[in-house]
Subunit: 299 residues, 2 copies
């Protein structure tokens, strides 16, 4: 435990090797990980910015452009969350090639997180890892979803500020996507905004956003991430939203979700899919499988 | 409880009014809902077919075309699952207008399910509702995701057969989407396949699918759902996959996920977000908020 106290001290000094070790510890639930999480100072409030949106919207390119704009003056962490597949535990895409120019930059820490495969467990793990990253003196932490994007809404429940990245082609889909997206987005970013359809798309999106009567006016920002156009405005909006959160009830909602996920993960800690599988196989072979019988025996 | 036994009897006779009442009971956790679920006969094996894919791929139109092909000889249930938003509890989109021509057909039962808003709770609720629907003598049950599509992978863990619907435009995204989608898809359906880019897209997708070494060879099917072209082949593939499942280990995996979600929902039953919110507000105002302190007190 002394070595973990030492790790925590190094974390607070922004030591990347210690940070990487602490993340691995939490990710794999190595011995001492409980102690680590419970002994982190809780006074850090680094903004966590979720970058989400459909595949192909240019999320990675946008993050790259944000890094480009920030790294000279700020320390930035990027977590790439790969929802992967529930049937392929721990699969790691992790080819964050487009970001590689910043891999070695002293102000940048980049880490790919594979989904642990557990439906419902990904959120808790991400929350735990973010608690660790928040200790390491970053000015911004970006959590970017990679791949299919089914965890869009999940990330939104964890990030302080959720940026939804879209491309103009999706124009006729705005109406379809309204339901969920409208409510998770704190900031809309229309990437590849140099395309012909961009203005119509931005106009449609803006009119939908203005139907929203919440206390935060969701901005719709145009950018061309490959050319670093519009990136400054995105950063400005992120800073503005961070200030907004200080007085907002949304902050409480984020904490509630955090607590809920962590409680759920703890309560389910002794329930293992492999054990359930064994029980089901046995019961099926004995001809006495009963869904709720098994559920009740595990509750 | 006698009235619930009566409800179960009527369900087994395929009475739609009873089915609707039973679903409402489970959806809203009305008194007796536990008794209902625990007293359903467990011998039903109606295939549950998940229809998922990005917004605009034509999922509803495909379901409509499947209904058109099936209803003369088969009883079909359609559940439209609207993931809605975690911040907008119980919101119901539910404008299943495109399917309205079958609303009154005696062989069709259509129901929109709003997300209960609880992250992690949607799966358990859907599983419970499917248990009920499976009692009512259907030949096919379709569970279609509506809206943003963040629950794609969740549905995949619940359906016996997961159909992923895509459109040719997504051509250059095939590679991006590979990770998650490849592994949840039991059947790929390329809709709007009369478009120019369709053949290239199908070829790309097929070559990716063939990299897969699982025991089930995932078919890539072309269709034009608006014109009922290719629908018969989709049904054929669904039937083939249903037969495949009988001898596959995938069936056990589906049961494991079911049990896991139901256990999780039960274990979290007494944890309410509103209570957590109250506790956080109190602790913040007293200046003694501690994340893991609160988590541990609730575990």
């Amino acid at each position: 435990l002394q070595s973990i106290d030492f790790l925590i001290t190094n974390l607070a000094q922004g030591n990347y090797a210690s940070l990487a070790r602490a993340i691995t510890m939490v990710e794999n639930e190595l011995p001492g990980y409980d102690y680590l999480l419970r002994n982190l100072p809780t006074n850090r409030n680094t903004p966590v910015i979720g970058i989400t949106g459909p595949p192909g919207a240019g999320k990675s390119t946008l993050v790259n452009s944000l890094l480009q704009a920030l790294v000279s003056k700020h320390k930035v962490a990027v977590l790439s969350v790969d929802p992967s597949s529930p049937f392929n535990l721990g699969a790691l895409l992790g080819d964050r090639i487009r970001m590689s120019e910043f891999y070695l930059h002293p102000n940048v820490f980049i880490r790919s997180l594979a989904s642990r495969g557990a439906l419902g467990g990904v959120c808790a793990k991400l929350i735990e890892i973010l608690e660790v990253v928040q200790q390491a003196n970053f000015d911004y932490i970006f959590a970017e979803t990679v791949g299919v994007g089914q965890s869009e809404l999940d990330i939104a429940g964890i990030a302080n500020t959720t940026c939804v990245v879209m491309v103009p082609e999706a124009g006729d889909e705005v109406q379809t996507m309204k339901a969920g997206i409208m409510e998770i987005a704190d900031i809309f970013i229309v990437n590849k905004a140099d395309r012909a359809e961009a203005d119509t798309f931005v106009r449609n999106l803006t009119s939908l956003v203005h139907d929203n009567t919440s206390e935060w006016a969701v901005p719709v920002l145009k950018c061309v991430a490959t050319k670093h156009v519009g990136t400054a405005e995105v950063i400005e909006a992120i800073v503005k939203h961070t200030h907004f959160l200080i007085t907002s009830d949304r902050k409480i909602q984020l904490l509630v979700d955090k607590v809920f996920h962590l409680v759920q993960a703890q309560r389910m800690r002794n329930v293992h899919r492999s054990d359930i599988g064994e029980k089901i196989r046995t019961q099926l072979s004995q001809g006495n499988f009963n869904l709720y019988g098994l559920v009740d025996s595990l509750v």
